[in-house]
Symmetry: C2
Subunit: 255 residues, 2 copies
């Protein structure tokens, strides 16, 4: 997200997304879009209910053609996962399996830590019912997104997005916050101090900074407000113009 | 996500979601569903293009009626944010603003840390164009999800989900992984050791564990495989049955 992170990244190494018996082309398309948003490109479909390729999928993909064009169709989950080393089953309902359940962030960290020759994949079930227990049993782990327990059923493409999002995040340090300065930079302190003097002079001239024993703290409070803004040269000039305008000229509407 | 976290949580304190000029009812509905998935309930719409309430929104919400029923419609962004203390503008394109940009996780942490009387909201722009610069300017911060720089435009409901997901996560410790044992627990070691003895006896009887100087390491390797499984009583019994079956009875198909 910072300038230096905006170079094109190689779109490899991420998990394969396997949609088992998806019902609607729209959801396949939206899943493909979510995948490419998150740098994932390898899509596999097991027995889609509608013929594939599919016009509605293309429309819903909003340009993620690269993912749809490369999508492979399989007849069984077993065939779709045959070349993978580590398979996660994405589920919303808790199953009674003795199988490790990981959060999406943990699954992403595991997949990032995998050796280069290891391939991982994530299974997603059909929209109405989720994965069959037989398909969950084929996975090494269950990946479950902790959501509102009273309303935890995600749209298929939303489930894909959460996995993709955590995959994307796992590859980057979270910068948390940044201030994009472009070609600007905070003004030299001399300019800032002149702004303060200008403002305080105008306020003194109007008897605002009284009583005198409170003047230092009042000045400090006002200066803090402006300091917090990390003003640029141009912004300092703008503010000085504002002060001048407010103090030198009468209102032109006569109020 | 663990049993103790599955109690119903109070759905309050989260940010207000403000959709500015959303074009399609479907996207409003999917956004409402994503919100409720993540425990967010307060939706505001600014000048939706289609009349609201809207049948397509209801269908796409898949049961998140609570969110749609409570949604408020406003004529301007200014009116929609008037009672909020902290406003984030969700954007995909980088703007040339001197405004702090935070990641969704950072925004969520800030919102969690806010005092109880402080209300936060997140502005999302229309599907085709995102937020106007004038609307971004009304926000305190920009929240930007670092995505594939070559394909960063998210579906509206997906953008809402990422914010909601990070909000949800920020309220919980990430347990990472857990093994749901139900009423079971790993078997007593005595049972495990008897399983090993059973297996090794059958293997010894067939001359598998040779040469004798390699026997200890071969046994260790086999025991490690079974130890890693944290077998329950029932599973130990099952495995002993498997060994017995393999060793006692001939194939019934004559091969």
């Amino acid at each position: 997200m910072a300038g230096t992170n905006r170079t094109n990244e190689t779109l490899t190494g991420g998990p394969v997304v396997i949609l088992v018996a998806p019902q609607l082309g729209e959801n396949i398309g939206m899943a493909a879009r979510a995948m490419l948003n998150c740098g994932l490109t390898e899509l596999r479909l097991v027995s889609p209910r509608q013929a594939f390729p599919n016009e509605r999928a293309v429309a819903a993909a909003s340009g993620a053609d690269l993912v749809l064009d490369g999508a492979e169709v399989f007849g069984t989950v077993e065939d779709a996962i045959a070349d993978l080393n580590m398979v996660y089953a994405a589920t919303a309902r808790r199953r009674h399996f003795l199988k490790e359940i990981v959060t999406p962030a943990r699954a992403a960290a595991e997949m990032r830590a995998a050796p280069a020759e290891g391939r991982a994949g994530v299974l997603f079930g059909p929209e109405n019912s989720g994965l069959d227990n037989d398909h969950v049993a084929l996975a090494d782990r269950i990946v479950e997104a902790p959501l509102n327990p009273a309303f935890s059923s995600l749209n298929l493409s939303q489930a894909v997005l959460i996995i993709g999002w955590e995959w994307m995040k796992s590859g980057r340090e979270d910068v948390g916050a940044e201030m994009p300065m472009g070609h600007t930079y905070p003004a030299e302190k001399e300019l800032i101090l002149k702004l303060f003097e200008h403002l305080e002079d105008e306020l003194d001239a109007r008897g605002f900074l009284v009583p005198v024993e409170k003047r230092p703290s009042m000045v400090r409070n006002i200066r803090n407000i402006f300091h917090r803004m990390a003003l640029t040269d141009q912004e300092v000039r703008t503010l000085r113009g504002v002060i001048s305008s407010l103090t030198r000229y009468p209102r032109q509407d006569g109020k």
